[in-house]
């Protein structure tokens, strides 16, 4: 069965590396998927604050599009994953929301009965592809690379069914299957501050600093993320987050980039050139080079 790939806005912009690497590994691991035709923004968290109902309708449009093709959705962006799932839950739990959204969708000739499953790449890789298959396809294992998997909040909470909400391990398992040395640290599900860095900088920056220090404190060499916003926050503000006597510089990659590396895919697929914090030298020192 083909999956409907729902990129969401960020994967077309700051999160391009995520899209490029993810689609590449899906191809390498034969996960059939095509971009959901004419998808629209999920509404994310901001729209909720302005008009919750509209945001459910927005999200529901995507669900309806997939439902029409009867495909399951793959949503890599944590925020999209949450919002789409949440909309499905709310439409099921609250008759009022359901009737309003259904009526609105009707006006553009769509229906959403909540048949579409919304899934995350981590789950697909873990349950559909499987660790053995993945491990078998690893060409250049990430041996000795100390990775801190950072899950952030919205992937695991509150609707995640495939992993533990307080101590998720799906990414850990996938990356260890790729030969990486995975680091377990308690802040891996704490919020990165989301858009706070933009709106209330001091607050956002404090979150970012804490998370980076926590990861470094555990001896991480790379941070692996599942969310474009987390990745952006953690990578792009390291200079601000650090200070003269304690500068911070630690590469922040998408888990999919690391897997692409392990599978020995080409530079286009690993999309390392999109990193702002350089990673090549580190990989070199570990003898991890890509085709």
């Amino acid at each position: 069965m083909k999956y409907a790939y729902y990129p969401g806005c960020s994967l077309k912009g700051t999160g391009r590396a995520y899209e490029e690497s993810l689609l590449a590994i899906f191809q390498a691991l034969n996960v059939p998927c095509e971009e959901l035709h004419d998808w629209n923004c999920c509404g994310a968290t901001s729209y909720m604050s302005v008009d919750q109902l509209s945001s459910y309708a927005l999200a529901a449009r995507n669900l309806a599009l997939a439902e029409r093709e009867n495909m399951e959705i793959i949503a890599p962006c944590a925020a999209c994953y949450l919002v789409l799932n949440k909309t499905q839950h709310y439409m099921h739990d609250y008759a009022q929301i359901n009737s309003i959204v259904t009526q609105a969708l009707g006006t553009i000739g769509l229906t959403c009965e909540g048949k579409t499953q919304v899934r995350h790449p981590l789950e697909i890789l873990l349950n559909e592809v499987g660790l053995q298959t993945l491990a078998a396809k690893v060409k250049s294992p990430l041996q000795g690379l100390k990775v801190a998997p950072y899950y952030g909040c919205q992937l695991v909470r509150p609707y995640c069914t495939f992993d533990d909400q307080r101590n998720p391990t799906s990414m850990d398992r996938l990356l260890s299957a790729c030969g990486a040395k995975v680091i377990n640290y308690s802040s891996k599900v704490q919020c990165c501050g989301a858009s706070q860095k933009g709106t209330v900088p001091e607050v956002g920056l404090d979150r970012i600093r804490r998370l980076l220090l926590a990861a470094k404190g555990e001896g991480a060499e790379v941070i692996a993320t599942v969310c474009p916003l987390c990745q952006f926050n953690l990578e792009c503000f390291q200079e601000e987050a650090g200070n003269s006597h304690e500068p911070i510089s630690i590469p922040v990659l998408y888990f999919s980039q690391l897997i692409a590396l392990a599978l020995g895919l080409d530079a286009k697929s690993t999309a390392l050139q999109r990193c702002i914090v350089p990673v090549q030298t580190l990989l070199g020192s570990k003898g991890i080079v890509h085709a």
Partner: protein, 196 residues
């Protein structure tokens, strides 16, 4: 030094508001709140909040509308759902925060030039017009309306993003843009019908 009266008269509470929140998403179980403060403790942003989530819930339940809606705390909530999964009464606190944000925006309960609501509004406008978000544009618009000077400080990052091809200048759009606006309008219609 200017002293202020702190006593609250029952007349100053807003029962309608208390009723309203009790029927909003997240408010359903508000009455069950034990005031244990676990939510505030779990919240990664509570360190900065003028009122902790626990206090907000209590004030809302008691109908202190002004104190709740004018609190910056509701804007600090990043909806990470940490409190929701730990709450001993399984109250959908994040859901409640959204309801409060929406009410605050409707009733203009926030400081001028306060970025978060502006960002929210710009966001929704862009979605309405193009169906998708182009981050670079969003950022520019938000800062233009709140803290234009901060744009200057961001040149360096902007350059880097450009160089790594992570900043799009063309705006991304959906094919059937009228669908989106039509959908949004239909929601408003449906809402009115429901009220009526």
């Amino acid at each position: 030094m200017n002293l202020q009266r702190t006593v609250k008269f029952e007349a100053e509470t807003d029962r309608e508001f208390a009723q309203w929140i009790a029927h909003e998403i997240g408010g359903e179980k508000l009455r069950e709140c034990l005031q244990c403060g676990l939510c505030s403790g779990t919240c990664p942003l509570s360190l900065y909040m003028d009122k902790t989530p626990r206090r907000l819930m209590y004030l809302a339940r008691e109908g202190f509308k002004g104190d709740v809606l004018s609190s910056l705390s509701i804007w600090l909530c990043t909806s990470c759902y940490g409190c929701v999964i730990d709450c001993p009464k399984q109250i959908n606190i994040t859901g409640m925060m959204y309801s409060l944000k929406q009410r605050a925006i409707e009733e203009k309960f926030y400081p001028p030039r306060f970025p978060i609501p502006v960002m929210a509004r710009q966001f929704s406008r862009m979605v309405r017009s193009s169906g998708r978000i182009t981050e670079s544009w969003l950022v520019v618009q938000v800062f233009a309306r709140t803290a234009i000077w901060r744009l200057l400080g961001m040149g360096k990052l902007g350059l880097r993003l450009l160089r790594t091809g992570r900043m799009r200048l063309v705006r991304d759009k959906v094919e059937h843009r009228h669908d989106i606006s039509q959908l949004m309008d239909a929601v408003q219609v449906a809402k009115k019908e429901l009220v009526a």
